[in-house]
C-alpha cells in the first residue's frame, strides 16, 4: 500500500515538473514572443481614491525583459523539481501560477499602465461576498449539513437589509402622490432620536439595523433548512433548492410590489470607507486592508474567529466530530442535533450578512436576483479551500481576483484577445478540477449530507 502511494507521489512530482516547464514555455510562446521590443509596462501602486498612506512611485518594467525573467524562473523551478524535487509542492505550485499570472498582466498591459494596487483592492471587494458564502458553507458542512442554499440566504439577506435600512434612513420620507408623510409619527420619532446618537458617518445606525436584519433573515432561513433536514431528514440538496427557489420568488415578488414602486423603501445608503488610524497609513498594506468598509472588517474578524473557534475550542472540535462521525460524537455525549442546528443557523446568519454586502455594502439598492450566483461561487471557494476558513478566504481572493482582472482587462481589450467571459469561468472550472482530484484531493467531512438517526 505504501509503495503505491509513493509511486503515485513520484508520478505527480514528475508531472508537476513538466507542468512548470510547460508554464515557462507558455510564457515564452504566448507572451514574450508576442511582444515588440522596447515596450514597458507600468504598474500603479497607489489605490485610485485618496488615502492616508504616502504615495508610492509607479513600477515601470521593460515588458519583454520581465517576461523572459519570469519564464526563466518558471523553467528553473521546473528543472529543480525534476532533478531534486520540492518538499512543499503546493506552495511551489502557487508560486509558478503567480509567475504566470504576473506574466499575463505584464503582457496584457504592454506599452500601457495598469493600476496593480487597484486590481488587488478590487479583488478584495469582489471576494467579500464570496468569502461570506464560503464561511457560511464551512460552518454548515463541518457539522455535516450540506448547504446549497447560501445563494438564497444571501439574496434574502440582501433584500431585507436594504429594506430595513431604507425604512429607518428615510423615516421622514413623503408619499410622492399625496405629499403626506409615508410613515407614522411615532416611527419618525424613533428615527429622529436615533439620529442623535449616531456613532460614525461611515457606520450609520440604520445600516447596522439593516445588517442585523439581514443576519436574522439568513438565520431564519437556515433554521428552516436545519428543521427540514434534521427533523424530517429531507434530502439536504432538495431542502437547499427549496430555499433558493423560495428566496428568488419572494424577493422578486416583494421587490416588484414594494421596493420598485416606493423608492424610499429601496435606498438604504451604503457603508463608506472607515480608515483605521495609524494602520491605514502604512504603504500598500494600509490602503488595502485598513481602509475598508465596516462590512469588510466584519469579514476579516469572522475569518480569524471561525478559524480559531473551529480548530482550538471545544465547540469547534465538537462541530468537526459531529460532521465526521456523528455516532461516535453522540456516544461521547455530544448532542448531534443541537450542534447541527446551532451551526446551520450560525452559517445562515453569516450568509445573510454576506447578502447585505450586495445592497448596503456596495450599491444601497436591491435589484432582482442581484447575487447572480455568488453564493454558489462561495460554495466553490469552500471546496477549493478544503473546508477551512483561511483556505476558503484565500480561494475567495483568487476568485475575486479573476473577477477584478477581467474587469480591468476590458481597458486593454484591443491588445488582449481573451473574452472576459472565459476569465469569469475560472472559479467554476477550478472547482471542477479540484473536485476531480487533479490537484490535491478535496475531502468533505465524512458525514456531510447524511442525516443522523439516533438508535
Amino acid at each position: 500500500m505504501e509503495t503505491t502511494v509513493s509511486v503515485l507521489q513520484e508520478k505527480r512530482n514528475v508531472k508537476m515538473g513538466i507542468f512548470f516547464l510547460a508554464v515557462s514555455l507558455a510564457i515564452v510562446i504566448f507572451f514574450a514572443l508576442n511582444t515588440p521590443v522596447g515596450l514597458t509596462t507600468t504598474f500603479g501602486l497607489n489605490p485610485g481614491a485618496a488615502t492616508n498612506a504616502p504615495p508610492l512611485p509607479d513600477l515601470t518594467l521593460p515588458t519583454m525583459g520581465t517576461l523572459w525573467v519570469l519564464a526563466f524562473l518558471a523553467a528553473f523551478t521546473g528543472g529543480w523539481q525534476l532533478a531534486r524535487g520540492f518538499k512543499n509542492l503546493n506552495v511551489v505550485l502557487l508560486f509558478v501560477v503567480l509567475l504566470f499570472v504576473f506574466a499575463f498582466m505584464t503582457w496584457a498591459a504592454r506599452g500601457k499602465s495598469m493600476n496593480l494596487l487597484g486590481v488587488i483592492s478590487a479583488s478584495l471587494l469582489r471576494a467579500t461576498p464570496i468569502a461570506f458564502g464560503a464561511l457560511s458553507g464551512i460552518l454548515c458542512e463541518r457539522a455535516g449539513v450540506i448547504n446549497i442554499a447560501i445563494e438564497g440566504m444571501m439574496l434574502s439577506g440582501a433584500m431585507v437589509s436594504v429594506l430595513v435600512a431604507s425604512l429607518f434612513r428615510n423615516y421622514d420620507a413623503l408619499n410622492p402622490t399625496t405629499g403626506q408623510p409615508l410613515f407614522p409619527d411615532w416611527f419618525a420619532n424613533i428615527g429622529r432620536t436615533l439620529d442623535m446618537y449616531n456613532l460614525s458617518s461611515a457606520v450609520p445606525w440604520y445600516l447596522l439595523l439593516g445588517l442585523l436584519s439581514g443576519l436574522i433573515v439568513g438565520g431564519l432561513l437556515a433554521a428552516f433548512h436545519a428543521w427540514l433536514s434534521i427533523e424530517f431528514k429531507v434530502n439536504q440538496i432538495i431542502s437547499g433548492t427549496v430555499i433558493n427557489i423560495f428566496s428568488m420568488g419572494i424577493t422578486a415578488f416583494l421587490s416588484q410590489r414594494f421596493l420598485q414602486p416606493i423608492q424610499p423603501l429601496n435606498s438604504g445608503g451604503v457603508f463608506t470607507a472607515l480608515p483605521i488610524p495609524i494602520l491605514s497609513s502604512i504603504p500598500i498594506i494600509g490602503p488595502l486592508l485598513f481602509e475598508n468598509r465596516f462590512i469588510v472588517y466584519v469579514l476579516f474578524i469572522l475569518v480569524i474567529a471561525i478559524h480559531v473557534m473551529l480548530f482550538y475550542t471545544r465547540w469547534g472540535l465538537r462541530t468537526i466530530a459531529v460532521g465526521e462521525h456523528p455516532k461516535a460524537a453522540d456516544t461521547l455525549g455530544v448532542n448531534v442535533y443541537r450542534m447541527r442546528y446551532i451551526n446551520v443557523i450560525l452559517g445562515g446568519m453569516i450568509a445573510g450578512v454576506g447578502g447585505a454586502y450586495f445592497t448596503i455594502g456596495s450599491v444601497g439598492r436591491f435589484d432582482e436576483n442581484m447575487t447572480a450566483g455568488k453564493g454558489f461561487i462561495g460554495l466553490a471557494a469552500m471546496i477549493f479551500g478544503k473546508w477551512t476558513p483561511l483556505g476558503a478566504f484565500g480561494s475567495s481572493l483568487i476568485f475575486g481576483f479573476a473577477d477584478a482582472l477581467q474587469q480591468k482587462l476590458q481597458i486593454f481589450a484591443s491588445q488582449v484577445p481573451i473574452p472576459s467571459e472565459f476569465l469569469l469561468m475560472a472559479p467554476y472550472i477550478i472547482t471542477m478540477v479540484v473536485l476531480a482530484g487533479v490537484i490535491g484531493r478535496a475531502n468533505p467531512p465524512a458525514a456531510d449530507g447524511v442525516p443522523y438517526e439516533k438508535d
Binding site: 427540514l228 415578488f253 467571459e421 472550472i429 468533505p444
Partner: protein, 391 residues
C-alpha cells in the same frame, strides 16, 4: 421506489386500485392545495388595499377585501390559463418544456443522480440547435430531426461529463452541474455576442431558425413538440420499467454497491443515466426553440431546470406523474402571466408556490400533521436518494 408496483392491479380488485391510487395522489394533491392557500395568504398580506379596507370598513370590509384580493388573483390565474381555447393552448405550450425537463430530473433521480444542471444542459442544447437550425439549408425531413438531435447530443454530452466525473472520481454531480450551469451561462453570453449572433450583430440575439426546422404550430401556438413530449414520456416509462437498461438504472439508483456486486457496470450506468437526463433537457430546449421562440436571445429559459426539480418530486419521478405535474405547472405559469396583467400580482408568486410544493412533497410529515392523516407503513420521499458530497 415502488410507485409502478402500486399502480399494477393486485388481486383485490377495482376498489383496491382506486384506494391505492387515492393514497398515491393524496399527499401531492394536498401539497398543491396547501401551497396555493399559503400563496393566497402572501397575496393578501402584501396587498395594501386590504389594510386600507380594514381601516375604513372595519372587520366586515376587511374580510370582503381579502376575498376580493384572493379571488381576483386566482380567478384571473385560472381564467387566464383555462378560460378559452386559446388560453388552454397556451397552457399546453407552457407545459411542453416542463414535461421534458421534469423527465430529465426524474430519470436522474431514478438512477441516483441529482441533475441540478438541467438549466445549463438546456441552454447548451438550444445553442447547438439554433446553430444547426439556422446555418444549414436542408429539406425539413432531414433538417428538423437533425436540429433536434443536435440539441439532444449537446445536452447529453454536457450532462454525461458530470456523470463520468462522478463515476470515476467521486466528484459530486450536484456541485459539478451547478458549476457547469454557470460555465454555460458565460459561454452563451460570449457566443451570443460572437459566432451565434445574427449579422450584423447589434444585440445578443441569434439568427432565426430556418422554416425547415420548425416544429409546426397547429392550434394557436400549440406545436408538435407537445405530442413529442407525450411520446417521449411513454418511451421513458418503457425504458425505465420494461428494459434491462432501465432495471440497471433503477438498481444503481437504489443501491450502487449492491448493483456493483450484482455485476452491473455502475460507471457505464451512471454516465448513461446522466446522458439520458441531459438528452431530455436538450429536448426541452430544442422543442421550445423550434416550436415557440425560433430564435435564441438572452433570458431564453425562465428557470425550467429548477422548476423541473419540483416537477420530478411532485410526479414522484414517475413519467405519468411528471406529465401531470407539468400540465399543472404549465397551467399555473401561463395563468400567472394573466394574473400579473389583471391583478397586478408579480408572476414570481408561482416560484413561491413551487418552493412550498417541494417542501410538502419532500417532508410529507408536515402535510400529514396539518390534515391529521395517518402514515401508512414506510412513506417514501419520492424516489430521492440520501447521500453526501463524498463517495
Amino acid at each position: 421506489m415502488t410507485t409502478d408496483e402500486k399502480i399494477t392491479p393486485s388481486q383485490n380488485g377495482l376498489s383496491s386500485i382506486i384506494k391505492q391510487t387515492f393514497d398515491l395522489v393524496l399527499i401531492p394533491f394536498l401539497a398543491v392545495v396547501t401551497a396555493l392557500i399559503i400563496g393566497g395568504f402572501i397575496i393578501v398580506v402584501t396587498d395594501a388595499a386590504v389594510y386600507t379596507a380594514f381601516g375604513e370598513g372595519g372587520i366586515g370590509g376587511g374580510l370582503a377585501a381579502i376575498w376580493t384580493s384572493v379571488s381576483v388573483a386566482y380567478g384571473s390565474m385560472f381564467s387566464g390559463s383555462l378560460g378559452s381555447a386559446r388560453d388552454i393552448s397556451e397552457s399546453l405550450v407552457a407545459s411542453t418544456p416542463y414535461i421534458f425537463a421534469g423527465l430529465a430530473v426524474a430519470v436522474g433521480f431514478r438512477g441516483g443522480m441529482f441533475n441540478i444542471g438541467v438549466e445549463g444542459q438546456l441552454l447548451l442544447a438550444v445553442m447547438a440547435s439554433v446553430y444547426v437550425g439556422s446555418n444549414f439549408s436542408l429539406p425539413w425531413i432531414i433538417h428538423l430531426p437533425l436540429t433536434i438531435l443536435a440539441g439532444m447530443v449537446a445536452g447529453a454530452a454536457w450532462a454525461a461529463l458530470a456523470g463520468y466525473l462522478k463515476a470515476k472520481t467521486g466528484a459530486h454531480e450536484v456541485i459539478n452541474t451547478i458549476m457547469m450551469n454557470y460555465i454555460v451561462y458565460l459561454f452563451s453570453d460570449w457566443a451570443l455576442n460572437g459566432f451565434l449572433c445574427r449579422t450584423p450583430c447589434s444585440s445578443p440575439v441569434s439568427p432565426p431558425v430556418l422554416e425547415s426546422a420548425f416544429l409546426p404550430q397547429f392550434f394557436y401556438r400549440l406545436h408538435f413538440g407537445f405530442f413529442l413530449a407525450l411520446i417521449v414520456a411513454f418511451a421513458v416509462w418503457w425504458l425505465l420499467f420494461k428494459t434491462t437498461i432501465g432495471f440497471e438504472i433503477r438498481t444503481v439508483g437504489t443501491n450502487p454497491n449492491a448493483a456493483r456486486y450484482g455485476g452491473i457496470q455502475t460507471t457505464k450506468v451512471m454516465v448513461l443515466t446522466m446522458a439520458i437526463s441531459g438528452a431530455l433537457a436538450g429536448l426541452a430546449g430544442a422543442s421550445e426553440l423550434l416550436g415557440v421562440n425560433r430564435v435564441l436571445a438572452a433570458g431564453f429559459s425562465s428557470g425550467y431546470g429548477f422548476d423541473a426539480i419540483a416537477l420530478a418530486l411532485l410526479g414522484r419521478s414517475h413519467p405519468l406523474g411528471v406529465v401531470l405535474a407539468a400540465l399543472l405547472f404549465g397551467t399555473l405559469r401561463s395563468g400567472a402571466t394573466r394574473m400579473q396583467s389583471l391583478a397586478n400580482i408579480p408572476t414570481d408568486i408561482i416560484s413561491i408556490i413551487q418552493a412550498l410544493v417541494i417542501v410538502f412533497i419532500a417532508a410529507p410529515a408536515i402535510i400529514r400533521w396539518i390534515y391529521r392523516i395517518k402514515a401508512k407503513g414506510a412513506e417514501e420521499g419520492g424516489g430521492v436518494m440520501v447521500q453526501g458530497w463524498g463517495s
